[in-house]
Amino acid sequence: MKIDGREDRGYMVVTVQGRMDTVTAPNFEKEAGGWIESGTTNMILDLTGLEYISSAGLRSLLITAKKLKGAGGNLLLCQLSEMVKEVICMAGFDSILPIYTDIEEAMKGGA
């Protein structure tokens, strides 16, 4: 899994590529936790390159979303692949994490 973060108009835009599973999910959680500790409150995840997610990945998304919420912000998702969208909706995460088509839409919707 590859994680890259950049600041853009008040958001931390994070691209996640590869697989978010038992092995890799803790890395995401740690990386995102670091940004939140450094002051990030609103995070957009661009998941274009994320091909697979398991419950371990969902767990790290939920922990990150809870931290952001606690800091007065939000975790926004965009560009979900078919598999990732299916799993996120199956787990009912679409009711707690807003999903957008792309980064621009997320910035408009999350404002």
Partner: protein, 138 residues
Amino acid sequence: MSGSSEERTFEASVERVGEIVEYVSGLAVVSEVHPKRIMQVELAVEEAAMNICSYAYEKPPGHVLVRVTKNEGRFIVELEDEGVPFDPLKMDEPDIKAEIEDRRVGGLGVFLLRRVMDEVHYSRENGCNRLTLVVYLQ
């Protein structure tokens, strides 16, 4: 491996879960499981193996036997361990409608595997837990 079985025994440790997923995934490709469903097989096997490797053995690591069968239009994955009796299908389902503050972290694995598989069965025989995952081949 049409109409036949293949099996391999793995050490039941969390570090081996990736290898177990890869093993089954490779056989799913050979068995011509649809690519979309291969992802679902990987998900179900990861969740099932993770449970076994995390909780089955009081004195880890034990072992987990993974048997893969293609038979009569079905792709079947059986996971067997000799750990403590545990029927994952009896677990309470997580609340997937709670607000973000009240969502429990975890408990989603079995919930997901039941939804992506066509059939899931559990049995306990001769001191052995057997979880069977079934995908219909179409």
